[in-house]
Symmetry: C2
Subunit: 163 residues, 2 copies
């Protein structure tokens, strides 16, 4: 290892230490790791995608629901829900009827096949949720959620006029 490589190693270490304190990057990486974990768990429990799992879970808890309902619950874009539903209809997990009260809306309900896929994934995902209690006290989770809320509120503020 020559002087240049030593220097690069030092620069890398300093830079990494700086970025360890960068909330934006850290939040992004944690969310990404969380998502990968969910994907791995779901892959071992029937192979649902995350959005498919979320849709089935919402339908189980509160169905029948519209695309917009589920996008709201999941804090995600309706187009992602719509796209996942397309696959799920093909697989027979959900069925869709037009809402007679508003013909723009699709009302989605879970089928028996969907319930089976849900039941396959539910235990491991429940365990995942409950395992948070292994590392956080309830007040710590509340703090975490509160910090997240304040971060989100700030993101959604109109930016000030450029100076």
């Amino acid at each position: 290892m020559d002087q240049e490589a030593r220097s690069r190693r030092q620069r890398l270490a300093l830079r990494k230490a700086t970025q360890d304190e960068n909330l934006f990057g850290r939040l992004q990486a944690a969310a990404t790791a969380s998502r990968s974990q969910a994907q791995r768990l779901l892959s071992s429990a029937g192979g649902l995608s995350i959005t498919q799992w979320r849709i089935l879970w919402d339908l189980e808890e509160a169905g029948p629901l519209t695309v917009q309902d589920m996008a709201t619950i999941q804090r995600t874009d309706h187009s992602l829900v719509s796209r996942a539903l397309s696959v799920m209809r093909d697989k027979g997990y959900v069925e869709t009827v037009t809402n007679p009260e508003d013909k723009r809306q699709s009302l989605i309900r879970m089928t028996a096949a969907g319930a089976h896929a849900f039941a396959n994934a539910a235990p491991t995902m429940k365990e995942r949720r409950e395992s948070l209690a292994d590392i956080f006290e309830p007040n710590e989770i509340a703090t975490f959620l509160s910090l997240i809320s304040r971060f989100e509120t700030h993101l959604n503020q109109p930016s000030e006029e450029p100076k």
Copy 2:
């Protein structure tokens, strides 16, 4: 609005309230909102993608660096860095030489064109970072980072054997 719609509205509200306390979903949504904000800001400041911005920033602060270095700093996968670099080389923002010490490694440095693109985006991204102080005290940011660290550590643990 008939009884069924009223019922659906109630179910939706309850379900949403439950998911408001779901740390996994909240973290994911916050990270996504943060990313969208960054994309909007960068779009108005020269049009760099987030990964391109991060690469230029790393090179500015600590370059020249390898793909692996930057993936480590950014807590992201090397393949994302590699892909972004391909575009950036085409645009003339970076140049790549093989590291004489290890011929597998590419050493990446920023060009003058890259420095120009960086300088275009840097003020707005600096302002973004600094605006966190408008909403969080330093100890609050430290708490936030600590909670994120513990969350990540937990995610990376081998899962227990299924019971």
